[in-house]
Symmetry: C2
Subunit: 197 residues, 2 copies
């Protein structure tokens, strides 16, 4: 049985973590991207479907390829971020189920039902995108997630000819709290968002 | 700037955390449900839209109301779990944006575009559902998330006459590793799921 994490860890993961719009000029290494994925991959998905595909855009060429599809408010900060992760959904994720869920024929649940496959891909890759945010914070990195961009354009530029579709973006680096950090916006209270039945 | 969390915390959140199908006979208190929400609420959402609504089903009456809509494989374990959280999306979340995003007229981005509102509700409530899983683990609880149920039936039983729709379910309690815990299924390697551009 687990204990509650230390207060400092709860702060780092949730309470003092923020969405950063500017990052310090400090590189994120390839080893850190592996460490991040090697935590996030363990988060639960439906039938272990693991439909998220990630592109870590780090090069100048990669950023230029992304640039035309960013909304104006997201453009400069995304070009300047050390890493921009494209969180994407593989809509034929079920082809990997014989490997990922070997104890049942889970592929057959989806292969003839693309509507179910699409919602499963979107829901579960989105969950995995949240695990990426939490994993990044867990290893001392900061995030700036965004959904303001041209999904179809990004799909054509990065995933042409595949069954992979972009979902949202996450800028990743070491957050610079001295620049463009907005005051924390209010959250809904327990009674506004929850009930106990 | 944050440090990497302790290895034990990374284990608890990701590496040794598991999807539990059975829970110890140990109550989850109302205070714990508040603590859980008061962490999860800080996770980022698009324009701070915070579209997740949560029903913590804990009573015998609540479980009976849920029972007819559970898939057969999820029924017994869900009735036995200390808490079953219904993670749901408020598809008119934008009515709360004047409160949640007071520095811009964000309501106007969604109120006349229900297609955008629907995808924003689903994506962001799903992210928040993942934050709930991570917050539960952070405070020493275990989870068993599921999407195998009749969403329309749950919506009618729990959210009739509202703009709220069920997304997925999470059983919550203290996991019993001695019962119905499957071996960890394989995950995709970095190279199978990720690339660096």
């Amino acid at each position: 049985m687990s204990e509650k994490l230390a207060e400092a860890a709860l702060d780092q993961l949730f309470r003092t973590a923020r969405t950063y719009n500017a990052f310090l000029p400090k590189e994120v290494s390839v080893e850190q991207l592996h460490a991040l994925y090697d935590l996030a991959k363990f988060g639960p998905t439906s039938a272990n479907s693991s439909p998220m595909r990630l592109v870590f855009v780090t090069s100048k060429e990669g950023k230029e390829k992304l640039k035309p599809f960013l909304s104006e408010g997201n453009r400069a900060k995304t070009l300047a971020a050390p890493v921009t992760a494209i969180v994407a959904n593989d809509h034929t994720f079920y082809e990997k189920l014989p490997q990922l869920f070997p104890h049942a024929d889970a592929r057959s649940w989806f292969v003839d039902n693309q509507v179910l496959a699409d919602i499963t891909a979107f829901r579960n890759a989105t969950l995995q995108g949240a695990y990426v945010i939490m994993a990044a914070r867990s290893i001392g990195l900061d995030c700036g997630p965004m959904s303001g961009f041209d999904n179809a354009g990004v799909d054509e530029a990065f995933f042409a000819g595949t069954s992979i579709k972009s979902n949202f973006l996450i800028n990743i680096g070491y957050g610079d709290a001295s620049r463009d950090l907005f005051p924390r916006s209010p959250r809904l209270s327990f009674d506004e968002a929850c009930r106990i039945d």
